[in-house]
Amino acid sequence: MTPNRIFHLFCLFALLAPLAAMARNVDLATVPSRGTVQLTIYNSEDLTLVRETRVVTFKQGVNPLQFSWANTLIDPTSVELKFRQPNVGLDVLDTTFPHDKPQTLYWNVQSDANREAVIEISYFTSGISWEADYLAIADPEEKALRLESFVRVRNQSGEDYENAQVRLVVGTINLVEKIAELAKLPVGRVKEDLGKEEYREMRQKAARKMMAPPAPASIVMAGAAYDMAAEMEVPKEIIKEGLSEYFIYTIEGTETVPNGWAKRLRSFEAAGVPMTVQYRYRPREYGEQLVRLYLLRNDTASKLGTTPLPDGTLRVFRANGREGLSYLTTQNLKYVPIGDKIELNLGPDPAVVFELLKQKVRRDNLWFQIKGGNLYRKLGEDGMKLELDSQVAGWDERTVFRQRIRNYTSKPVSVEIRREYPGDIVFRSKLDPALHDFQTVQFKTDIPAMGKAELDYEIVARQGYNQKQNRVELQTGDVAR
């Protein structure tokens, strides 16, 4: 493992001397090591709040402390020093960012006695990110599915974080400046010139370290404790809590994520999540095709509902009943609050044939504008003359459609259709339709296995002068043939 190569906290023993004295050529410094580290990683921005504690010995009077962070992506304006234990008797007099030493700052700490103190340094860094992803495996009958959610933490920050407590924030925060821009530093990279074997060895060592239990626990594990420790390790729990508009996931124990690595942990898993299959035609959402969907709900009745589902990639498979899988789709799941529905679009199903047939077109209720003026007459009205100088100004266009759906699957299917009709429209049918909005008609049908449905309807579009409204009117009745 590479050493903690970046952060250096020096207690400078050019002591009792003010900052001007540090310009000397000979300094003596001690490097207090890191105690604990906590990473709070946001997924909506390239932002991580790092909080680390160190133990420092202070002498009575003014103590200069140097903090530097070469080759990292730290926002220098965010670095803050606090005194945890004791929290009285210690004070930061000032903070200096020297012009001749980039990525360094000095604190002058006033102590009222000689003492050891636990200090906390917090700062924002970029380069550490997390994302959610999901794996859904439907059972062969497509009545229920198994949903697994994962979180993947990536560390490209230039710094190794060992045994860090990791917290992940689900939510969208506002930043006025990007942390990476504030840091203005290139991302550290793993050496690429290592030999393959050497590199593999290094990787395996790093992997072992990542999987190693937290340091304090391994110290305890010895002798009589061996048997207990050898019990089967279970996946870490990820504790989910609400905080303001956000959700915080806290990964149980600590994690080590070396620079350049990513690590994926299971956030939750739920087996036997009930679901239904629906076919939908909604051109605005799914394009000009009938698509198949798995519908489920993020609630406790569905064995979910413990957490909102953060944005992430979701891969859907179906168990084929022979221990194998069928790949169905990959889609980006948008944030799903607790209690909300989850819709997985599997795309078109070749076994369900969806055809719209235009069967007949007829025009009537023709109105004429007489001589370009404000006088309008209807064709066929008493006294209507064949004015040469009159133009068709309005008419009703009647179009008869047949929606034919053939189901060649071995199961009944439920189909929901939405069609949008701009203009002044009458939708005439016996399909028991409903209005999704003022210009969108929705109707449903169930089709038995290996069966077909023929849904007839007539659209009357009032055109030109005849158009008085912009809405769809639903009428129940036979379709004109």
Partner: protein
Amino acid sequence: MNRTRWLYPLGVLLLCGAVPPDALARIKLTTLPVRERVEIQLDHPEIALVEEERIVPLVKGVNQVDFSWANTRIDPDTLVLRILPPPADQPLDAKVLSVSYPPNETALVWAVSASASGAARVRISYVLGGLSKDFHYRAVADHDEKTLNLVQFLRVNNNANEAYDAADFWAGVGERFSKPLGLSETKEVQLNRFASVPVRKIYTCDPTEFGYLDRAQDKLNVPMHYVIKNTGGALGKEPLPEGKARIFQDDGKGSSAFLGEDRGKFTAPDDELKLYLGLARDIAVRRTVDRSERQRIAGNLYRYDVTLKYEIENFKDVPATLDIAESVRQIRDAVRGDSGRDPEWQLGDGSLRNPDPEKSDADKLLFHVDLPARAADGQAKKQVHTLRLTLNNEW
């Protein structure tokens, strides 16, 4: 096989969770479990899902299962490790704790926790680029062209830079099969054989779709199609995927002749697969607009009366059925220009007045016309048909 290059190395580092990590390096044991079984699922239209089954030795505690690949297009985000249920007499509870992704390497490391030492059967599934499939068909028609024997083939193209000594394939249709698949190899297998499938031979003239053979002489192209309905017998149980179809005909002398080929479209059960084989030059159709008149209804509102005339000769020595197809919109656009509106029409009292209701709609009209064989003296009798249309409410 060059394991380091072609086999995806699956290394298992056996780590005992109780021993401090540094000490573990000295007692590590790496095994390379071989593939016990491979299934290649090609049922998705575009994606190949490979599933490998391996027996992985695990020790009680945490095990590091290292999966790496080179020169292949595995989509690492699709990798799924599933631990299959153990046999009842060897209970072994194993769980994936986490997955780690090393930098700059096509690899990942699963941390697997085991309740006891033993072998676990695992399935590793992933989407693999470079493995593709296509279907094609070969049909031999009887000498009288009433039935044909249709054979469906699957071709698997392996450009995935990986070889499989044995793999079970599933293409979404037909039977599952097991075959080896070598590096950069294409494997072709027969998936289905459909015997004595009824075939209809149809002749069609459709100026919109097939155009004119000689525009100056108003002669239409008359393509010949074989039509196979995906129903009955062994057919009709599954869709026929799209693919090239080559049609041969039994020449009655123990051999066969190639009639032509076409790219068959995806054909759902109950649908018709229509294959264009070539032009029929022995059926001549002349199409002319015989009459086009307009009558003013009011102001700028008109009605058009249009008559199309077809002069048809069958020079074949067998009777045939000709399908005459028309687009009313195209007729309207030709006689008065495109108004942007759908035509409103009525059929008049021409000889063509009963369109096929299943194949006609608000725009398309399809008529079937029976043509007798040419007479014994070699003369073909000319048939004249008319299509009378009234186009209402045009302006």
